[in-house]
Assembly symmetry: C2
């Protein structure tokens, strides 16, 4: 029997899964690495630490699979988006990997937003105007670190670096290339204007290939450590966003995939490039006739984590002593409060926000407090607020792609049936929860099968997906959410006027050592 | 030795104090009574229950004073404002007493605000446009309870009813009369137009007298129960607002008196009637050349009580077990957070607000939340938000009366040195805390002495006031509050647009039986 490794290089860890060619799982491994934040604006990772994590994750799953007949025929790659590394002419890193969370190019994004050029670039490349984009990071290097900019022979992302290190091949597949903001989304080629603006030439960038591109050439030393054959195929794969969308089965145009993990995202495939006139959504090519449109959202489960720690610290301690899952406890507390939280509305922008606001200064708020409101109301309002925000991104998506045919949702939030039901009630739509949580690795594995000619229709991924659970909206509570949602949306606009002021205050006066 | 009783008929209880003529206290008593809220808009009290409370409070203090030589020579009255009772021709109540908190005339206040007549009446009478005002309550009775309106031979407040019941004398002093919205504040006579609008005639109202008006005539039965002589003087006294201002020593024009108890108020005396062009403040005559300008604020300590119960319920229970004052504990928790609460801003309008918004639909909010904010930040933000609100009323007062010469503050909040210091820092002004907490009764006693010719200068009340504590503003934190205050004020305006919507939601959907 033959095996395929699906590997997902995330921001906090790399997950590897090993499958047989029928999609059965034989082993999982998860290897973490640190984020370097020497200054508040910085969010870097060490490319070689991540490379080593991929080595040991694969080593672990290969050992777990305990392969006696057959072999690993392919390794297929999912990865975080928007990372940037400068390499010298010998491919030696001149920088760490600047992750999507690195904000040092904020100034350039702000400038481009203001003078309209950001909007022009967005229309060409599909990358929203935000410091996460390698396009803006290159402007930062060019202006503020010219010695590195001048010395850089190549500019790559973490996935390209890792694959190069394994094989000596420098390639970039189109979905990841699109996430740099340097790819023209119509031609699927490097965008001339984007290159001109950043002062980078095509020669400094990897060769562009399809997501199903495959090649051999792993260096013996790594094949040996991992315990696989030297003629294993590397399959390029795609971005984690694209693959997790495929991996929950949201293949058809108009089928929405929503993920709520630490962060969150709303995505759907369309058949040709579509830009949002308000630049709230990205759009990038993934495969022939498949463009991913979506909004990345900072404030997903991490906001519930905040409420968990900051509002219910004492109870969480108690839950630990009692060996109760403290997030289950929060859901139970939230369930004591009626839908709509008796008119308490929460905006979840604790850490600034990407979609739908694209405002790093955004902050959270509670609105509508009266004397009957308790912490139980707050926790329910937090869960509802996260959903209102996702719904507002979905509204933007609807403007671009029309009414959704189906809504598929995945991520840690789905461990709470209350929260998932809330989603159905707020979205007024059936919510389908696929069984598998490892959608990114699953889709990477499936792409490998397509690359190897073992599958030819993306839709067929569904046969590996296990059974689904469907949550149906509850008519009784529609009216509540329909009354609150317009207030939430209007407030979003009004509050946004004060975000810059309060964020400036917090930068100036917060005593970080407290 | 002779004695004087100062009695304060409050909304939740009546407090009586007995003094000798040198101002020494010989006894205190406090008698509570229920508030009737058969519907959410209703807030009534039983006039005879209150009368009985005054009897037993006085009985108790007289007993405590254990008078062997001399006698009680005067009873002087402070009382809650804006109450309204309909009496039939035999002075029998046709209604309970509608307190200031009764909102049934909301519709009429809203109508008068909209069509501009409320503003005209405010300019004549000094009563802000709000359902608390007997003027608006009369419109309610006339339109919605015509049988009572037609049957009513007299319309009085709770103080007038009580004094009538003791003595058979129906008088009303000008400060209380002004609080009805039926008194012309320039002439200090019943206002012709106000009478015309409400359809009430002068004959239906008590005789207008000065605050130092005195007379005898207590019925034997009551004198006997209380244990005093039949020739005791009744001294009219004034509203609780006026007397507590006098009682903290804020006599001179431009000296501010701030009270933060359950509710709160900012007040100052001026020498001639002054109206606020934006109708945020009341203005009424108290004595010759003394007009009280001020703003009544719903959201005082009651908001801290909410945070105490709703955000720190668990800790409060623990504090009780440990015999620690749980409000002291809250102050200690708030003190762990720096001034400005790391950029968290709270609007305290949990229960709607009178000054400065005059919006019964107003609600509370937290703004500026980031992941570092905890419940400790929330509690400090609550304390700061209550102060920001008081400061915003003070700003309105400054527009009308100029820079304050001094700021005197009293009420339960002053038990927290942290909170009092916060006031000095936010107001950027010395805050003077008088020793005595019973300022209303003290001033009632002093008015009696003036009525009896034993004092002639209001300023001399200071000799009965004990020593003061002064809190000086801390320069180091000015910049923080100066940055946050404008954001607070701008947000007040923006949020106010959504108050009606959220309050409507809460009225429609709050499950009150939960
Ligand atoms: N029992 C539970 N009920 C509700 N929510 C939960 C529960 N357990 C975890 N969560 C939420 O799920 C989140 C984690 O989700 P998940 O495991 O998908 O995260 P992740 O993979 O780190 O995120 P990302 O997809 O953004 O990288 C937590 O932030 C938490 O808020
Ligand atoms: N130790 C304390 N520290 C801070 N605030 C306090 C403390 N004790 C009571 N308070 C506040 O004082 C308010 C009561 O003030 P008080 O003047 O006694 O009330 P009232 O207006 O009912 O006469 C309470 O609502 C509470 O918020």
């Amino acid at each position: 029997m033959d095996y395929i490794i699906g590997i997902d290089v995330g921001t906090t860890s790399t997950k590897a899964l090993i499958y047989d060619t029928d999609g059965n799982i034989y082993g999982k491994a998860n290897k973490g690495y640190p984020l370097y934040q020497d200054t508040p604006d910085m969010a870097e990772e060490d490319p070689d630490e991540i490379f080593n994590a991929t080595v040991s994750a694969m080593q672990e799953v290969v050992a777990k699979a305990n392969i006696t007949d057959g072999k690993v025929i392919a390794i297929s790659w999912s990865a975080q988006q928007h990372s940037l590394i400068a390499l010298d002419k010998d491919f030696k890193p001149l920088t760490r990997s600047l992750t999507w969370a690195d904000n040092r190019s904020q100034k350039y994004a702000a400038e481009y937003k203001k003078n309209g050029r950001g909007m022009e670039m967005y229309k060409r490349t599909g990358l929203p105007i935000h410091p996460m984009g390698p396009f803006y990071k290159l402007l930062y290097f060019r202006n503020e670190q010219p010695e590195i900019f001048d010395q850089a022979a190549y500019w790559v992302g973490i996935k390209e670096y890792i694959i190069w290190k394994y094989t000596g091949v420098l390639k970039e597949e189109i979905s990841m290339a699109a996430a740099t903001g340097l790819l023209n989304m119509n031609s699927a080629q490097w965008d001339e204007e984007a290159l001109k603006e950043t002062g980078v030439t095509e020669k400094q960038l990897p060769e562009l290939v399809d997501t199903t591109d495959k090649f051999k050439g792993i260096k013996s030393e790594y094949a040996k450590i991992i315990g696989i054959d030297k003629d294993v195929y590397f399959v390029m794969g795609a971005t984690d966003g694209a693959l997790s969308t495929i991996g929950v089965g949201a293949i058809q145009t108009g089928v929405l995939a929503i993920n709520i993990g630490t962060s969150a995202a709303v995505r759907t495939f369309v058949d040709k490039p579509r830009v949002d006139p308000k630049a709230r959504l990205y759009c990038y090519p993934v495969m022939k006739g498949k463009y991913l449109v979506g909004g990345p959202i900072n404030n997903g489960g991490i906001v519930l984590n905040w409420a968990h720690d900051s509002l219910f610290g004492g109870e969480v301690e108690a839950a630990k002593l009692l060996h109760i899952d403290s997030y289950d406890m929060l859901s139970k507390i939230a369930a004591t409060v009626p839908a709509g939280s008796d008119g308490l509305i929460f905006h979840p922008y604790l850490g600034g926000e990407r979609a739908p606001l694209w405002d790093a200064n955004a902050r959270g708020s509670f609105f509508g407090l009266n004397r009957k409101h308790t912490r139980a109301h707050m926790i329910r309002a937090v869960m509802e607020g996260i959903m209102y925000n996702l719904y507002s991104v979905t509204l933007a998506l609807k403007e671009v792609t029309g009414e959704p045919k189906a809504v598929l949702a995945a991520g840690g939030f789905a461990r709470s049936t209350l929260w998932t039901q809330m989603m159905a009630d707020i979205f007024e739509h059936d919510i389908v929860i696929p069984e598998s949580y490892e959608s990114g690795s699953l889709a990477a594995m499936f792409l490998a099968k397509m690359a190897l000619g073992m599958e030819d229709n993306l839709e067929d991924i569904k046969k590996y997906m296990g059974k689904e659970t469907v949550y149906k909206p509850n008519q009784d509570v529609f009216k509540r959410y329909r009354t609150l949602m317009p207030i939430y949306l209007r407030l979003s606009r009004d509050l946004s006027k004060e975000y810059e002021g309060i964020a400036d205050y917090q930068r100036e006066f917060t005593d970080n050592d407290k």
